[in-house]
Amino acid sequence: MAVSEQALRLEALEKPYPPAWRRWVAGGISFARRKPLGAFGATILILTIVVAVFSPWIARYPYGEPHFSDTLQAPNSTYWFGTDILGKDFFSRMVIGSQVTVLAGLGTVVVAAFLSVLVGGVSGYFGGRTDMATQRLVDVWVALPPIFLLITFLSVLGTGGDGFLGLGRGPNVGLDPKNGDWIWYTFFRSSVVIFSLGIIFAGYGARIVRSAVLAIKENVYMEAARALGASNVRIMWHYVLPNIMPLVIVLASVNLGAAVLAEATVSFLGFGIQPPFPTWGQLLDQDGRIHGVGHEWLSIMPGLAIFVCVYAFNMLGDALRDVLDPRLRGGR
C-alpha cells in the first residue's frame, strides 16, 4: 500500500507540470465551455481594448478632419459609418471614441476597487468608532443617486483639457496631433471622469468589502497572526487582502458595464470629455440627437456600440461572478 502510494507520488512528480501559458489557455477554454456568454463578453472586451489601443492606426481619417463636399453621407465604401454635418468620417470618430470607453470603464473599476478596499477594509478591520464614523460617511456617500453627484463633480472639476489635478497639461505639450490621439494621452484627458466615477462607485463597493472583512476577522488564523505579534499593516496586507481579492475582482467585473454606461450617460449630457475629442455618448448627443432625423446612422451607430459593450461586459461580469464567487449571486 505504502509502496504503491509512493510510486504514484513519484509519477506525479515526474509528469511535467504544464507551463503557465498552457494553464491559462486551458482555463480559458473551460471557462468558455461553461459560460459561452461570458466568453463572448471577454471577446468583446479584448476586441474593444485592441481597437482603442490601435485606434490612431485603425481610423481612416483624422477624427477632426472635415470633408465639406461629403457632408451627412450615408454609410458607404469610403465612409464606412457615414459622415456627420461637417463631413467628418464617423467611423474614425467612433474608433477614436472607443479609447474613452475603455479607459473610463477599466479605470473606474480599478479606482473604485482600490478605494473600496481601502475604506471598507479599514472600516471593517478596526471596527468600533472608526467603523461607525466610516459607515456614516458611506451612508452620505451613497445617499444621492450617482448621476446627480457625477454631474456636480464633473462640472465643478471641469473636464476641459487639463484633466485631474492638471495632469492632462503635461504630456500633451509639443506633440503632433497624430501621437496626441494615442490612448496614453487620452488617459490624462479623461482622468477627471475616471476619478469621479471611481470615487462614486467606491461607496457601494466599500459596504460589500466591509462585510467581507468582518467575516474574515472571525477566522482563527487572524488570532494566530495577532498572537505572533504581527502588526496591523502586516495582517491586513498578508491575511485580509488575499482573502478578499476574489470578491474585489468580482465587484470590479460586475461594475464594468455600469461604469461604461455611466460614462456614456455623462458624455451624452455634455459633462464628459469635451469636444473636439469624441466619445460615444457625446457623438450620440451632438450628432445622433441633433442631426439624427433622416440620418439614422448617426444615432444608431454610437448607441449600438454602447449597448453592445455594456451588454457584453455585464455578461462577462455575471459569468466571472458565478465562477469565482457564487454566493454573490442575487436577484439583481
Partner: protein
C-alpha cells in the same frame, strides 16, 4: 424592532444634512470662479463692477480665521438655517427664489418616476411570474434574455431613437395622424392644465424609464417565485388539488413579491437618475433638468436645493421601504 426603527429614523436627518454639508464643502473648495464668470459676463455693461462686490453680493467669500474651508461651514449653517424657515435662497443672476422653482419642478419628476415605476411593474411582474412557472421552457429563455437586454439598453439611446423615428415618420410614409400624436408638444403642460398634452409628453419617457427598470424587477421576481414554488406549503397546496392559478395567485405570489418590494427602495435612486436623462431629451422641466441648467450656469444655490430634495426623497424612500419590509415579512428581525 422598535429600537431598530428609532435608530434608523434618527439616522435619516444627519444623513441628509451630511449630504448637503459635503456638497457645500466641495463647491466651496473647488468652484472658485462663479464670480469670475459673472464678472466676465457683466463687466462690459457695468464699469464699476468689481469681483469683490460680486463675491460680497453672493456671500461666497465667507472666511473663518482667514480660511475659506471653515467659511464654508458658516455658509452652510446660514443656508440650512434658511431652509429650516422655508427659504432655499435665490438664483445669483435672476434673483428668482430657488424654493419656488423646486415646488414647480418636483411634481414633474415625481409624475415621471411614478409612471415609470407603474409601467415597469406592469410588464415585469407578470412576465417574471410566468417565466418562473414555465422554468426552462422557451418562454422562460426568451423572457430572461429579454430582461438582460433591457438592463444594457441605454435609456438615452432609446429616447434619441424615439425622436429619430417620430421625426422620420412622414418620410417613411407611415400614417400621419399617429405621427402627429406621437410628437410631444414642445411646451410643458401639467396634468390638471391639459391632461391630453401631459400624457402625450409623459408616456414615452415613462415607458423608456420603466423599461430600464423592468429588467432587474423581472429577474428578481423570477428567482423569488422559483424559491417560493419549492416551499413545502406550496407543495401542500398542489397536493390539495388546487388549480395552478389558485396556487400561484393566492399562495405563492404574496411571499415572492416581498423582496421585490424591497428592490423598489434601491430602484428609486435609479428612477431619479434616469429622469435626469429623459427630462433632458424630452425637455420636461423636472428636477433633473433644473440640476443640469443650474450646474451649467454655476448657480450653486440651486444645485444645493435640488440635491437636498433628491437626498430627502431617496433616504426617506429607503427608510420607509425597509420598515414596511419588516412589517410585511414578520420573519425578518433586525438586530
Amino acid at each position: 424592532m422598535r429600537q431598530y426603527f428609532i435608530r434608523r429614523a434618527l439616522l435619516v436627518v444627519p444623513t441628509v444634512l451630511g449630504v448637503t454639508l459635503l456638497i457645500t464643502l466641495l463647491l466651496q473648495i473647488l468652484q472658485g470662479n462663479i464670480a469670475d464668470l459673472i464678472f466676465a459676463e457683466s463687466s462690459t455693461y457695468n464699469q464699476e463692477l468689481t469681483k469683490e462686490k460680486i463675491e460680497n453680493d453672493l456671500g461666497i467669500n465667507d472666511t473663518i480665521l482667514g480660511s475659506r474651508f471653515l467659511g464654508a461651514f458658516k455658509q452652510w449653517g446660514e443656508w440650512i438655517g434658511g431652509v429650516a424657515h422655508g427659504d432655499f435662497g435665490e438664483y445669483f443672476r435672476s434673483r428668482r427664489s430657488v424654493g419656488g422653482e423646486l415646488v414647480n419642478r418636483t411634481p414633474v419628476t415625481l409624475e415621471l418616476s411614478g409612471l415609470a415605476l407603474a409601467f415597469s411593474l406592469i410588464i415585469a411582474l407578470p412576465i417574471g411570474v410566468i417565466s418562473a412557472m414555465r422554468q426552462d421552457t422557451m418562454v422562460d429563455h426568451t423572457a430572461r434574455s429579454f430582461s438582460i437586454f433591457m438592463l444594457a439598453l441605454p435609456s438615452f439611446w432609446l429616447g434619441t431613437m424615439y425622436f429619430v423615428v417620430v421625426g422620420s415618420w412622414h418620410d417613411w410614409g407611415l400614417p400621419k395622424s399617429i405621427g402627429d400624436w406621437l410628437l410631444p408638444p414642445s411646451i410643458y403642460k401639467n396634468f390638471w392644465e391639459d391632461p391630453e398634452a401631459n400624457i402625450r409628453q409623459m408616456w414615452a419617457p415613462a415607458a423608456i424609464l420603466g423599461f430600464a427598470l423592468a429588467g432587474s424587477v423581472m429577474r428578481l421576481t423570477r428567482s423569488q417565485m422559483l424559491e417560493v414554488l419549492r416551499q413545502d406549503y406550496v407543495r401542500t397546496a398542489w397536493s390539495k388539488g388546487l388549480r395552478e392559478r389558485t396556487v400561484v395567485v393566492r399562495h405563492a405570489i404574496k411571499n415572492a413579491f416581498i423582496p421585490v418590494f424591497s428592490l423598489i427602495g434601491v430602484q428609486i435612486a435609479i428612477l431619479v437618475s434616469g429622469s435626469v436623462v429623459l427630462e433632458r431629451i424630452f425637455g420636461l422641466p423636472g428636477l433633473g433638468l433644473m440640476l443640469i441648467e443650474a450646474v451649467t450656469q454655476r448657480e450653486y444655490v440651486a444645485v444645493q436645493g435640488v440635491l437636498l430634495v433628491v437626498a430627502i426623497v431617496v433616504v426617506l424612500t429607503n427608510f420607509v421601504v425597509d420598515m414596511a419590509y419588516s412589517l410585511l415579512d414578520p420573519r425578518i428581525r433586525y438586530a
